[in-house]
Symmetry: D2
Subunit: 143 residues, 4 copies
């Protein structure tokens, strides 16, 4: 199912511990910024927070991830992280993201992650339940 | 010099990568929250940001740090970090902090850090210049 | 109970993501090195690994931590982390540590952590069971 | 230039602070394991350590990165990280990696990173010097 899913945005603060020896946000932290934005948006925009999944014994595990770095973020910057669901699959989802520098509005990084919905106890992938599909299919332009 | 220095506050988001195997913010991250708050307040409240020190070849290096953990922070929580300068010494400062859970307003952790002002090139401690003492001595009650 | 508990050592690699904007291992990482050493030694030296505690629904939560930084570690360095139990209390332990630079054998940091044994489900502190006291009381000089 | 570049291996310890709320090594840490292995191998296997680049005002900046996660690493595991240069380009390199669980020898993750050689002062990409090409072209089978 590949609807035209809405894009949401989250603001992530650059912390001093994110800075590497080059004075830039460390390359691995952009994945953390993406996940921070995603968790916030699951709660705020999809009304479907990670705690609700955890309470049902479910988790979202990252299967594939790719990123292209365009410009570095630095100390004092704020990341604006936009994510949207590219594709809802039978037992997973592909989520695209763009990170912009809030001050300059310039593109910092783009990429996407493929997540599997997993039964934490058995560590097995499960089909996405209807209630998740329904909430994930939110579309701001056509609610 | 031990004035009654003002306390300032910063809001730090808990990120998913801060969470440990117990489902709590990892113990080492509270130091990062303290530093994040401190860097923000140096800029915003003291008008004396880390970039200004770096541009002069100076840095603040942590010499001693202690912390007491009271209650854990969890995913979805926000940390309110209060810091105040306890003591300005000839070549360093002692900064106290309290971290509260913004939602519950309950105490999460308290502690303090002793920082040395350091000439980055030589890695030697230097006397705190007058312009720093002046800006650090800001007192909201008595500006 | 304050026996003359043995000191054990672990070798912890400095990773590039540990390095901060000053080119040093970031201040919060020394706590991580201490915990890494402690976990390894619980398993290897006390025959009492964290997984055994977790399987019994128990965890060790940090209550207090203090550290003094002496010299920085840098990229390419290896940390030698020595820990020893200073004190076994009714429901917790105080563990001291020293971190040395393996190459230079110079002191990098010293400190200690106070841990509480906690029932993870209830989040309440519990008395240290006899089997833990027995294994923790290992003394190399007098085995 | 696409020689049959040799593959090298590094052992990376899983630290407690690498573990996430699911009890697995956090997804962003695999990039850190890859970089840790790469830095070690640049020094040990290519005789061309990052400090040599830094002393010449050069750095390797990540431009693109992708990873597929196969099985999680857990507390107590050790990562065996294999990397090899897939391609040396005019001003960059593509480095492939495989991460295995040292105990089980099972595949944990695969991926690759595209690095640009950058003049740190100007933040501009530079052509890879001959001395780097020479050392990077090491081939164990045909030394």
């Amino acid at each position: 199912m590949s609807l035209n899913h809405s894009e949401f945005q989250s603001c992530v603060q650059v912390r001093p511990d994110d800075i590497d020896l080059f004075g830039h946000v460390h390359s691995a932290k952009y994945l953390d910024y993406f996940l921070a934005a995603r968790f916030e948006q699951m709660q705020k925009n999809y009304n479907c927070g990670m705690d609700e999944f955890l309470s049902k014994g479910l988790g979202w595990f990252l299967q594939d991830f790719d990123i292209s770095y365009k410009r570095p973020l630095k100390l004092g910057d704020t990341a604006m992280v936009y994510t949207n669901i590219m594709e809802l699959q039978n037992n997973g989802s592909i989520v695209a993201f763009r990170i912009l520098n809030q001050q300059s509005n310039k593109l910092v990084a783009t990429g996407k992650g493929k997540f599997a919905l997993v039964d934490i106890q058995s560590a097995r992938s499960v089909a996405i339940p209807d209630w998740v599909i329904e909430r994930y299919s939110i579309n701001i332009e056509n609610p």
